[in-house]
């Protein structure tokens, strides 16, 4: 089967690149070689993914690719398999992952052009590892392989956030991201254990005849959702995502906006048969997702760091996806994942382009860049419009679909939060555009210059997708078996009007003439309090306190038990032997006569025994 080969090619070419780069140091330390290998491998993956997806979408129905290799043989049946599995659900995600990865890698060639060669080599080796892990996650034939790859993308995330490892804040951010997601990942691991105990396998499709009890499904889905909350940065475990912006901007675009954080959403999509059996978890998802969408949008309004704005925006958009999946509509959540991947990657890359020009993340240091960098400016505006849900952009279709689903499911409170968040999204993106592109140029912006073509080309590609991605909505609907053509609905009109008013408010508030002071100074005292309350600071404090108080105390208690109980038992046995030996050594007098006595005594005893037993 050519499709089997294509699927293997898509998965294994980044693996080969990663293994080669990790093992052969002389290749790795040459940035250009490493970049070429990684980009080449990702291109192969992209071509294979596009071919696989084309045969499964747009009305075509090729059979699923299902290649599995026994991994854990166990008695009569195989405990787990590894392999590649491509169905209409996995195929579009493969394209998204490979496409955004390729765009980001090409962009990185320009963005990190001034870095030392060996650092760039390391960077691209990590990228190859990430591409392999993420594709392995998407193409996993069962949830166990998905879990393994889930951890691998976490590792890649850790390595890439800590890319500037000489900066202490980057190291701390990497650790924080790792620990927070790792804590959440326990949910996935425990959920898999329960799933295995209950069904005897790791399949998301529970075999017919082994109906999962609702209580069990709730447990499994709830545990899985814990992992999703961590990975997809939902409240209250969103705290790692803003810090993760310490990594290079292209990394933020790929891992912390488009693909890795969406892995949580993808897990729900994959395990949807299980989630559908758990109505309580679905309801929790709707409310938590909507809350995160609103909360993160509020926080994003007050950020001065352009990457932090986008980071909280990502939290917010992931909240939309989670809420959409909670309504029982797989299509809307998955579709928004896809469109969001395009326009948020685009936004991060344009932000990277601005940062590259002014050498600062702060919106204070930008301003007036429109005159210097028109192409980047146009791309930023396109991305912002798509994120704000401007009509006919990709974000418009997917966001309206989500709002519709919320209305259909009768979740009016989350619906209100989502619409409000849509208005805030439009507002904060307008703020970013106005502050960075227009107004009086700051000192740093005086020397800004446009990014090279190697950075612009991937952005243009993503911009096209951010504009036209909405055309795919019919195909996503067909994937779920519903024939849904897009139609104008009252809720869509309301959301669009709210979005327009957000844009209008932003244009008015941050117009160059009005803007006397930029940044957080424009907010009043009550709003500052709100900012402080809603920014991740108190949550950070809570988690840090939880960690220091509860976990470290518990660890200290266990350490005490180990040292004074377990170790004491071991030491006691040693001490007893020593003391016993001390006493028994007295038996050895060294006097030859005593030994003769012993021999004779023994002889007498033996003789007596012989006599009396005979």
């Amino acid at each position: 089967m050519t499709h089997d080969l294509l699927a293997l090619l898509a998965l294994l070419s980044p693996l080969v690149a990663a293994v080669v780069l990790f093992i052969i140091a002389p290749l790795r330390v040459r940035g250009a070689v490493s970049a070429a290998l990684t980009i080449g491998a990702t291109s192969v993956s992209l071509v294979a993914s596009v071919l696989l997806a084309a045969a499964r979408m747009f009305g075509a129905t090729a059979p699923n690719v299902d290649l599995q290799l026994a991994w854990l043989p166990g008695g009569a049946q195989t405990l787990a398999t590894v392999g590649v599995y491509v169905d209409p659900v996995a195929a579009p995600m493969m394209v998204v992952v490979a496409l955004v990865a390729l765009c980001v890698q090409v962009y990185s060639v320009g963005y990190l052009g001034h870095e030392p060669s060996r650092d760039r080599g390391r960077y691209f080796a990590y990228h190859a590892l990430f591409a392999f892990s993420m594709l392995g996650l998407v193409m996993a034939p069962n949830l166990l392989q998905l879990f393994v790859c889930w951890e691998l993308v976490g590792l890649a995330s850790y390595l890439l956030i800590g890319y500037y490892w000489t900066k202490p804040s980057a190291g701390q951010a990497a650790l924080k991201a790792f620990w927070v997601t790792k804590f959440a990942d326990m949910g996935l691991m425990l959920g898999l254990m329960v799933l295995y105990v209950k069904t005897g396998g790791f399949d998301w499709n529970v075999p017919v005849g082994q109906a999962l009890m609702t209580a069990d499904a709730e447990t499994i889905a709830g545990l899985f959702f814990l992992a999703v909350v961590g990975k997809s940065a939902q409240f209250p475990m969103h705290i790692w995502l803003p810090d993760a912006m310490e990594g290079p901007t292209p990394v933020s675009a790929l891992l912390h906006a488009a693909t890795m954080v969406a892995a949580g959403v993808y897990l729900i999509v994959r395990a949807y048969p299980i989630f559908m059996l758990a109505p309580t978890v679905l309801t929790v998802m709707v409310y938590l997702g909507a809350f995160t969408a609103l909360f993160a949008a509020v926080v994003a309004v007050f950020q001065d760091d352009i990457k932090k704005v986008l980071a909280f925006s990502t939290c917010s958009q992931l909240g939309y996806m989670v809420a959409a999946l909670g309504t029982g509509s797989m299509v809307s959540g998955y579709f928004h994942l896809t469109t969001h991947a395009f326009f948020k990657a685009l936004l991060f890359l344009t932000a990277g382009s601005l940062i590259h020009a002014v050498h600062s993340n702060s919106l204070h240091d930008m301003g007036g860049l429109w005159a210097k960098m028109k192409p980047t400016g146009i791309l930023l505006i396109i991305g912002s419009l798509a994120l704000a849900g401007f009509p006919m952009t990709a974000g418009f279709f997917s966001k309206d679909l989500i709002l519709e689903e919320l209305l259909h499911a009768g979740h009016y409170l989350p619906l209100g939060a989502a619409i409000l968040a849509a208005g805030l999204t439009a507002f904060y993106m307008t703020r970013v555009v106005m502050l960075s592109l227009f107004g009086a140029p700051s000192e740093a912006a005086e020397h800004a210059h446009e990014s090279p073509a190697v950075m612009l080309a991937p952005m243009v590609l993503l911009a096209v997708l951010a504009l036209a991605g909405g055309l795919l909505h019919g195909d996503f609907a067909r994937m779920a078996g519903v024939e849904a053509a897009f139609h104008v609905t009252p809720v869509g009109v309301v959301a669009t009007l709210v979005g327009f008013s957000g844009i209008g408010l932003g244009l008015w508030r941050f117009s160059p003439g009005r803007r006397t002071a930029i940044g957080t100074q424009w907010v009043s005292a009550p709003m500052r309090l709100l900012t402080w309350l809603t920014a991740s600071k108190p949550v950070d404090v809570f988690f840090a306190g939880f960690y220091r108080q509860a976990m470290l105390r518990a660890a200290a208690g266990i350490a005490w038990f180990d040292r004074y109980i377990i170790d004491a038992l071991i030491n006691l046995s040693g001490w007893a032997v020593l003391r016993g030996a001390e006493r028994f050594r007295e038996l050895q007098t060294g006097q030859p006569t005593d030994y003769v006595y012993a021999v004779v005594g023994g002889l007498i005893v033996l003789t007596a025994m012989g006599v009396f037993t005979a």
Partner: protein, 105 residues
């Protein structure tokens, strides 16, 4: 030659047991190494006597042949024993057994 019947055998065995007990007493009580060796010789000869007595009682030559072997072996044993005594005397300036209590725990 005196024929060895049951009564004579009994007397001879009592004599052998007595010799053995005397030798054992010597081994256990003598502090002097040479005295100890003499005790050992007595015990060995008690065994020899028993061998010869049983040999005669059963009418074979086995007992006497074995006795010749044990006498030869005893000679070797005494030679080794005396050599040890000499070494002991050289290293400790004494043939006293208590001086050789190096295995004391």
């Amino acid at each position: 030659m005196i024929p060895v019947n049951g009564e004579v055998l009994q007397l001879l065995l009592i004599l052998g047991a007595g010799l053995f007990a005397l030798g054992l007493y010597g081994v256990l009580t003598r502090k002097n190494t040479i005295g100890l060796l003499i005790g050992l010789e007595l015990m060995a000869n008690a065994v020899n006597l028993n061998l010869v007595a049983f040999g005669r009682y059963h009418g074979g030559t086995d007992g006497q042949v074995f006795t010749l072997f044990t006498i030869a072996l005893t000679v070797a044993e005494v030679a080794v024993g005396l050599a040890l005594v000499i070494l002991l005397h050289r290293s400790r300036r004494s043939t006293d057994l208590d001086a050789a209590a190096d295995l004391h725990g």
